[in-house]
């Protein structure tokens, strides 16, 4: 992939400055998913497997359209179906294409201890570098969307790359190419946000969806994948999309105050013991006599 275009602005587990920090491309990229025009055809799933050369996995049949319960380490893009009965008794068949959300403040990256295993490019894409991955799985704990999945054989973690290889060559992600209804769009975050808001307004004004809105959760600094939902007040209905996702506060406590306190305590303890030795010395100065011990 072209490293000239994909400058890095955030690196996991990295001491010191980040090469692409503070540089800014003209725009960050964004995928817009309009759940109101998705028909659940799964063309995006197939395109993802085709482009990324992922194998066909075993499916699970449970009398619904749902082929498997969640994404897998080698299945990055899955439509989640939900038959939702509304208050007035009418049925809505909700479907949401689930994949990595490419958070502006990624929990996976914050939790990762390995230098360079997770990076965020200046265009906003969050990408796993398996060569630097140590297989600890902390990213699984850091992610509020349950996206990173571990290959149990190699202990390496995988997820959607937003087709970094395609995007760096100026192409759209594979899923976008395949969508027959045009519910998937790709472009700059600003453009996608504009388009999404326009569509949400249309749904509110003309289609009797008064709660229609855009899902771009501020808890993770906004996401590189945004949704238009019929009912933005109940994102959970769409395959458990969290209402207010954020990096788990235990992870924040660990990487913030605890790290700071721990470092101060460890360095302070070492200094304290050294000062004690200089001031008071050993309890007895002389090496104790070794009478009686045969050489």
């Amino acid at each position: 992939m072209s490293q000239e275009i994909l400058r890095i602005q955030k690196i996991s587990g990295h001491a010191g400055t980040v090469p692409g920090e503070d540089t800014q491309r003209e725009y960050t990229v964004c995928k817009l998913i309009d759940t109101t025009t998705c028909i659940g055809c799964k063309a995006c799933e197939v395109a993802c497997m085709e482009w990324n050369d992922l194998p066909f996995g075993e499916t699970v049949f449970n009398n619904t359209y749902q082929t498997m319960p969640e994404t897998r380490w080698n299945y990055w893009n899955l439509i989640l179906f939900n038959e939702h009965e509304r208050d007035d008794g009418t049925l809505m068949w909700l479907m949401r294409k689930n994949q990595c959300m490419h958070c502006a403040e990624p929990g996976c990256l914050a939790a990762c201890p390995s230098d360079g295993a997770i990076v965020q490019y200046t265009n906003g894409i969050v990408d796993f570098q398996q060569a630097n991955c140590i297989g600890c799985g902390y990213c699984i704990t850091g992610c509020p969307f349950d996206i990173p999945k571990m290959n149990p054989k190699t202990n390496r973690v995988f997820k959607c790359t937003l087709c970094t290889d395609r995007v760096s060559e100026g192409l759209e992600p594979a899923c976008i190419k395949s969508c027959p209804t045009g519910c998937l769009h790709f472009g700059s975050k600003d453009d996608m946000k504009f388009l999404a808001e326009k569509r949400a307004k249309q749904l509110r004004d003309h289609s009797n969806f008064p709660h229609a809105g855009v899902y771009d959760p501020p808890g993770v600094g906004g996401t590189g994948v945004i949704y238009v939902l019929h009912d933005a007040t109940q994102p959970e209905l769409y395959g458990g999309l969290p209402k207010d996702p954020h990096i788990p506060w235990m992870v924040k406590l660990w990487k913030g105050p605890l790290k700071w306190l721990g470092n101060v305590a460890m360095v302070g303890g070492l200094i304290g013991l050294f000062v004690h030795y200089v001031k008071f010395g050993p309890k007895e100065r002389e090496e104790e006599p070794r009478e009686g011990r045969q050489p």
Binding site: G13, H14, A15, A111, P113, S114, D115, C133, I134, G135, C136, G137, Y138, I140, T141, D146, K149, M150, P152, N155, P248, M250, V251, L253, W254, L258, K259, G262, N263, A265, M266, G269, L270, L273, H276, Y277, F280, G281, P282, K283, E284, E286, E287, E288, P289, R290, E291, G292, R293, Q294
Partner: protein, 220 residues
């Protein structure tokens, strides 16, 4: 026929028998590995430690297994030493004059037994931290098997594991300082097993009296 304990040179007292010493060193060496690799995962500024120890993936792979060895050794130590680590009235007096202990005025301390109150606290602190490290470590070992509905377990583990580890590091620093630098003869006792009578009389007068009375063998 009773088993003959290790032969000790005249004028010296057996403080740790062979199995105590070996168990201690299994725990010590595994702990140092765990601490170093743990520190590497704690801060990016210490990540180089994992590189030196064979690479970060290797460190991540071995850390939990060495952890099991450490837990095994700690369990044995619990069996050997826990009965001797009960707090006594003398221990409560000991804590009241901790200031004297810190200033190396050991003659002003209440007579400590085979272990003084500080050593007892160190033992329990290591033991409890070890227990927390084991439980949280198991969660951290296989995070992908913790279902999404139980993710709070992972959140708890990811926070409490370093908290308990920091506790052991505080213990470790004090333990190394006391045994290697402050109390001459202590490190030697964990290697060869024996200490001088003077050492026992000075640091563990209660135990010394018991031995003199014959109510306690140096090593039961």
């Amino acid at each position: 026929m009773t088993r003959v304990d290790q032969a000790v040179p005249p004028g010296r007292i057996l403080r740790y028998n062979f199995s105590e010493r070996i168990t201690h060193w299994v725990a010590a060496i595994s702990y140092i590995y765990l601490m170093l690799t743990g520190l590497a995962f704690w801060s990016p500024w210490l990540f180089w430690i994992a590189v030196i120890l064979g690479g970060a993936p290797v460190s991540r792979m071995l850390h939990p297994w060495i952890g099991l060895i450490f837990v095994g050794a700690v369990t044995l130590m619990y069996g050997m030493w826990a009965p001797q680590m009960k707090s006594t009235d003398t221990d409560r007096q000991w804590w009241k004059s901790i200031g004297n202990y810190v200033q190396n005025q050991d003659d002003k301390m209440p007579p400590a037994g085979r272990y003084n109150a500080g050593q007892k606290l160190l033992f329990w602190s290591f033991f409890l931290a070890g227990l927390v490290l084991l439980l949280t470590g198991l969660v951290l070992w296989l995070p992908e098997y913790i279902p999404w509905s139980l993710r709070w377990l992972r959140y708890l583990a990811v926070f409490l594991h370093p908290v308990a580890a920091l506790m052991t590091i505080a213990n470790f620093l004090i333990h190394i300082y006391m045994s290697v630098f402050a109390e001459r003869g202590a490190l030697d006792s964990m290697i060869h097993g024996d200490v001088s009578e003077h050492f026992v009389e000075r640091y563990h007068p209660g135990w010394y009296r018991e031995i003199a009375r014959g109510s306690s063998t140096p090593r039961k």
